[in-house]
């Protein structure tokens, strides 16, 4: 039980920390693209860790008590996690592309090859 608690604390701590970073980055960064960096990477990573905590919790409780509902908890959380991992970066890509096409240019940009390419 003690090990489980420690693992939970670590995982939840990492998850919350990165989620926090993501939100702060969303506030601090100057333009859409950099904000997307913060939002996508950090929140996905954080959410993976909070979900991992739940998964670990579910499996270990199932091991201890043998109650099938904890296995269901872990399995469903895995499914939710997979959904999150698949959809998040794709959504970020869609937003970035749409932002660039709608005329929002990156600030302080050293180089912008996409603007020169003019894809349509």
């Amino acid at each position: 039980m003690g090990t489980l608690l420690i693992i939970l604390y670590i995982f939840l701590g990492i998850g919350v920390f990165f989620n926090c970073l993501g939100s702060i980055g969303l506030l601090r960064f100057p333009d859409v693209y950099t904000r997307l960096h913060a939002a996508t990477k950090a929140t996905t990573f954080g959410s993976i860790f909070t979900s991992l905590a739940v998964i670990v919790y579910g499996f270990s409780r199932w091991n201890i008590s043998g109650d099938s509902k904890f296995r269901v908890l872990a399995l469903h959380t895995i499914v939710a996690l997979v959904c999150l991992i698949i959809t998040n970066p794709t959504g970020a890509h869609a937003i970035a592309r749409a932002a660039h096409r709608s005329g929002v240019m990156p600030k302080q940009a050293v180089i912008d090859e996409l603007k020169e390419a003019k894809l349509k």
């Binding site: 099938s68 959904c83 698949i86 959809t87 794709t90 890509h93």
Partner: protein, 158 residues
Amino acid sequence: MKEMSRIVKTVTNFVYGFIIIFGFYIIAHGHLTPGGGFQGGAVVGSAFALLLVSYGSLNSKKFLKEDIFSLFEGFGLILFIVLGFSGLGITFFYNFLANSGGWFGDTAVIGVNPGDMNTGGVIPLMNIAVGLEVLSAFGVIVLTMARGAEFTKKKEKS
């Protein structure tokens, strides 16, 4: 509507089937877990919306047929009301299958239990009927409004 980028389309290919099976899971387990005909139908309808947005209205015509949707909409509702009528020996909407022992007729354990699919009487059947209606209704709404948006917007000057 034009199609979106290749990355989005590839992800859509996977997610589409996943959303639909998940929606069916919600519909079929309506009497055990949260969900039911409406929720599952809405989820599946969203899957059609996803296909529409990532493939554009021209390319998605291969996969989404409005005729079939409107057919299934009427069919789902008729199934639902026929289920209502079939209780008419006693009263309209009488749950004549519950606790009868046959299909969906198992007696539920009273209290907390892990859930048995084979219970609920006509409720699972009604879930399926309503789910069929709702998913095709949302399909029709999304397709029609996409068509209408092309129709009502101002013509570009190009």
